[in-house]
Structures are given as C-alpha cells and as structure tokens.
C-alpha cells in the first residue's frame, strides 16, 4: 500500500513538474496569453506563407490546428478543453453554434476589409448582418464528369443523371442533405422542403437512380474520380477544382435547376483568449491581396470582389466556379431543419442506401 501511495505521489509531482516546464518554455518562446493565436481550420485550407506573413507583420504566433468535419469541430469547441481564437465552420454549423451560444460577436470597426466582400455573400440567413462571421470561401454542389469515358455526353440538368447509359457510373457523397437535396432539386422542389409527400416523391425518384450508382463514399470520391475509377460524381465545387487539378480531363457543371450554395466563414468561438488578435487575423485574411494569394493556393472560390482583380483571368472568368449573380440567385442555402426533420432526411437516406439495384 505504501508503495502504491509513493508511486502515486511521484506521478503527481512529475506531472506538475512537466506542466511548469511547458509553461516556462512557452513563455521563453513568447507563446503566452496576448501574443499567440490558435487557429482552428480544415486541413490544407490556408496558404502556409500567409501564416508566416501574419506572424511577421503582427508579431503574433499562430498555433494552427485542423479538423475534418463540422461535427468534430463543434464537439471540440463545445467541450471547451482547448480554447480556439479563430475557427472556420460552414454555414449550417455557424447557425448551430449561434444557437448554442458558442460564438463571440465581431467588432466590424476592427474589420474594415469586410467592405471588399461581394454583397451577395453578406447578410445571409445563417448569420444576419454578419454579426458573428466573415466569409472565407464559398462554393456549390454540382456534377463532375469525364467526357472521355462518357463519349461526349453532356450534362445540364440533374435529370441527366437518370440516363440509362450511366449504369454503375455515378459516385455520391455519403451525406443525407446532399443526396436527398439532389432528388428534390431534380423535381424542382426546394432543398429545404419539409413536405412529406415531396420528400417521398424525391426518395422514389432516387430509388430509380439506384442502378446508376456505383458507390456512396466520403473523401475517397476525389481519388476515385481523378483515377478514372468512375465517370461521374456529384461533388462540392471545392472538391471539383481539386479533382480537375489532378486530372484535367474532367469537367464540372452546375445543373440548371439550381443547387446548394455553401459558405465557410471565419468566426471567433466563445472562450477565445485573444479576441483582439482574432480580429487582426480576420482582417488580414480579408485583405484583397492576401485573399487572392490564398485563393490561388486553396483553389476554392473567394467571396472577395477586390481579390478577383489580383487573380488571373483564367480563374475569375471560369463560370463553373464564379457563376454570375443571375445564376447564384437560384441557389439555396441549407436551412437548419431542426432535429426531427434532419432525422427524417437521414431515415430516407438510409432507406435509399438499402434499396437494391
């Protein structure tokens, strides 16, 4: 028993010692309180050179951490074990965080660069008046296809996917909102439809698509399409630009019926230690030159109008990734449908996945 106690005490002393040591080391390197900034972002979603530039300009050290899904990020921020100063969630996650009181309002006086953002992308339903968030990147959901394998087939509508020649060729995301949404869109219903009859109709229509579906996967979609394992996929425009970057035979289209438009916005999570620095960082990322540099690195569509002037014509003139306002007007944001409806969407999606070819 004595031995057990001795061991226990040794462990406690060692732990305290290590904690002190990290504290001393951190403060020696200047990693304390006011001059560090913990950024919580998707993997590979910022140009690392911009991090260096920000550190040089402001003298604030950036601690960069990544997440791979909005849900994972939400859980970690809600738990509050680590404090993050800046995070970059997607639209629906922002409205959830707002509901749960996990966000600190932005001080617009400290973010003058907000004026460069295209007004189309400001004051959206998930964050009215941009009280809590500033746009980082945006995009759409569309069809990516390989014209070489498909011998010149063309796609303009969601309904083109139901073509019999596409047996076993389509890849979908393993995500209820996207797949059910596609079914709704193809019937000209809203992406946020909660009418049970409309949803059942969409489900029946999707069942008919079953023979054409090769697989319902996650991130592997990018690899599979780039390696030509499949000819068509329904993907986010961000993923599409990555796939085209890896294999330029592929082409991306936004269907005529309209589609989902999504945003990744910068926010300051509750519990942030360096709110001042967070504002500096947001303003820095919204600076047109920096935004342009970041866009070239990441390859997603920037909401920064002024940044477009710094980007080459071949990027900004590409209507697949920068559609005009006449087209974006038809796009819909995902609204938070509430737990019950989300569960219903998922139940339908599960049934759809179980539908035999």
């Amino acid at each position: 028993m004595k031995k057990v106690m001795q061991m226990f005490i040794t462990v406690v002393i060692a732990a305290l010692g290590l904690m002190y040591l990290t504290f001393v080391l951190n403060s020696q390197q200047g990693y304390s309180g006011g001059n560090t900034l913990t950024v919580y972002n998707w993997g590979d979603y910022i140009d690392p050179e911009l991090i260096t530039k920000f550190q040089q300009e402001t003298g604030i050290k950036i601690i960069y951490q990544t997440f791979d899904s909005n849900e994972a990020m939400l859980t970690k921020i809600a738990q509050g074990g680590t404090s993050f100063d800046v995070a970059i969630p997607s639209d629906y996650a922002i409205s959830k965080m707002k509901e749960q009181g996990l966000l600190i309002p932005l001080d617009h006086c400290k973010i003058p660069n907000l004026k460069y953002i295209d007004p189309r992308f400001l004051d959206l339903p998930f964050d009215e008046n941009n009280e809590y968030s500033a746009p980082y990147f945006w995009g759409t959901l569309g069809i990516i296809y390989n014209p070489e394998i498909l011998e010149g087939m063309e796609f303009t509508s969601w309904n083109d996917l139901w073509d019999e020649r596409l047996r076993n060729e389509i890849l979908l995301y393993d995500s209820a909102r996207e797949v059910i949404g596609m079914g709704l869109n193809s019937l000209h219903y809203s992406l946020n439809d909660t009418d049970i009859d409309h949803l059942m109709e969409a489900k029946r229509k999707l069942d008919a698509l079953s023979p054409n579906i090769k697989a319902i996967v996650g991130d592997e979609v990018k690899m599979l399409l780039a390696n030509e394992e499949a000819a068509i996929g329904v993907v986010w425009s961000g993923d599409a630009s990555e796939i085209i970057g890896a294999n330029d035979k592929l082409d991306y289209v936004i269907p005529d019926e309209g589609t989902n438009i999504w945003f990744d916005n910068i926010v300051i999570p509750a519990g942030a230690k360096n709110v001042e620095g967070a504002h500096l960082f947001i303003n820095f990322m919204l600076d047109p030159e920096n935004a342009a540099q970041n866009t070239e690195y990441v390859g997603y569509s920037t909401p920064n109008m002024k940044a477009l002037e710094y980007l080459p014509e071949e990027i900004t003139g590409d209507v697949r990734f920068y559609p005009g306002s006449d087209i974006t007007d038809k796009f819909e944001l995902y609204e938070n449908l509430g737990k019950k409806m989300t569960a219903y969407y998922n139940e339908l999606f599960l049934e759809f996945k179980m539908h035999r070819k």
Partner: protein, 266 residues
C-alpha cells in the same frame, strides 16, 4: 491483514470493469430510452421492428455468417497444414504479421488492388476475361473482411490442433478409419473448441463492421454498424443509435451463449 491487501489489489480491476464495461452498457441502455425530442419513450424499440431495421439486421447477420463461414473454410486447412510444417512458429508469425498493420491502411490498399485499373483487373484483361467491377460489390466486401479476420480464426484453431494428441489420430487410422472418417469422427470433434473460439472472434466484430462498408462496398452493403455510425455522427439521434447498439449487445450475448454450450474439450 493479508486479506485486506488482497482487496486493495482488486480495486483497479473493479474500477476498470465498472468504468469501462458496466457504465458504458448502462449508458447505452439509458440513452436508448430517449426519442429524438429527448423525451422518455420506447419509440426507438418500436422503430427497430420496422422493415428498414429488420432487413438491415437480417443482412448484417447474413454477411457476418458468410464472413465467418469463409474465414473458417480457409483457416481450418491452413491451421492444419501449419501444424504439419517444420517451422510452424515462423509460418504462424508470417500469417499473423498483416494484423500488425493498421486496418485503415490495409483497406485503402485494397481500394487500389480491386479498382478498375488495379492489378486484379489487369490480370483479368490479360487472360482474356476482360475487366469487371470488383470494388463496391458484395463480393469485395466479403473478400476484404475475410482477409482481415483470418488471423483471428487461424490462431485458436491452430492452438486446438496443437493440443490434439497425435496418437489418437494414429489409433483411428490403425483401427481402419478412412482419412475422412478420422477427420470427421476424431480430429474435428476434438478441435471444435478452437473452431468455436475462432467463430466468436470473427462473427461478433463482423456483425458491427462499418468502415469497410463505405470504403470497400461503397455503401452498397448496409449493416447495423453503419446505421449506428450515421445516427451518432450525422442525425445526432443518440437514442436510436443506442437502441441498435442494445440489439447488437443482445445478439453478441446470444452468440457467446450458443458457442459456449456443449464444449467438448476443456
């Protein structure tokens, strides 16, 4: 004094069992009683008996049975041959070796191997059969699952065969039993405990497989494990996810009891 010291040494184990065995199961039971609105109800259990979940359960069982069956079919002869080889420990280690590699890594490798431009399809093209879709089918799912589970089947069967007294086999042969009769009447009954242990080690995890249903079967195979994952991560319907988990626990308990009874060897 001695008795007390012994009790103190028991504390860590008791704590372990309470914290990591009893508490999680109790929590799962507790959560399964709440419907999506967070109200206390048995609605989830009613939902489980709707066609969607029942057919999912049947399919999960069917695939788990197939996986266990094929694993046994391959593992038994392999284990038998192993006991006959000279350097059996070395061979055994070589067979166990792949299980040291991370599961996800192996599964990703299979995406490449089974893919349209992968080596298997190249081979099929060369010998004139022509390429066909292998990835994202029920076949690829069973193939990869069997590959992953085989070491867990071979080990207990191998141990049982090792314990088998060879003179019993000799006696059977001396008394005129054919090789098949020897196997059916002597070898197999005496190693059935190993087979049962192996089946348990494969069947139970196979029932709740989820990751490779997406990566290898492209969600064309839906098991209870997939549904649990979706309910916890996407729908946030912890109640329904827990209810499915409760049924999995019951199924596993039944499997344990069924393979436990009528043990022939110690």
């Amino acid at each position: 004094m001695q008795g007390r010291t012994r009790n103190i040494y028991l504390i860590p184990y008791m704590l372990w069992i309470v914290l990591f065995v009893v508490a999680p199961i109790a929590l799962i039971m507790y959560y399964s009683m709440f419907n999506i609105d967070g109200a206390w109800s048995l609605e989830n259990y009613r939902r489980f008996f709707t066609p969607v979940y029942l057919s999912m359960t049947l399919r999960s069982f069917w695939y788990a049975i197939l996986i266990t069956g094929f694993a046994l079919l391959i593992a038994y002869p392999t284990a038998y041959l192993l006991t006959k080889t000279e350097h059996k420990q070395l061979w055994l280690m070589l067979i166990i070796l792949p299980s040291w590699i991370n599961l996800l890594l192996k599964v990703y490798a299979f995406i490449g191997i089974l893919g349209f431009y992968g080596p298997i399809n190249s081979f099929l093209r060369i010998i004139g059969i022509g390429s066909r879709q292998i990835l994202f089918t029920g076949f690829s799912f069973i193939f990869v699952a069997v590959y992953i589970f085989i070491p867990y089947m071979i080990l207990p069967v191998f141990n049982a065969l090792e314990e088998l007294n060879p003179s019993l086999v000799d006696a059977a042969r001396d008394l005129g039993a054919s090789p098949w009769a020897t196997f059916r009447r002597v070898i197999f009954p005496l190693t059935v405990s190993g087979v049962k242990a192996g089946c348990r080690a494969v069947f139970i995890p196979a029932l709740s497989l989820f990751m490779i249903t997406r990566l290898i079967a492209g969600n064309r195979v839906i098991t209870l494990g997939t549904a649990i994952e979706q309910h916890f991560l996407v729908t946030q319907d912890w109640g329904m996810g827990s209810t499915i988990a409760v049924f999995l626990i019951i199924a596993m308990g039944l499997t344990m009891i069924m393979t436990e009874n009528g043990k022939l060897v110690k």
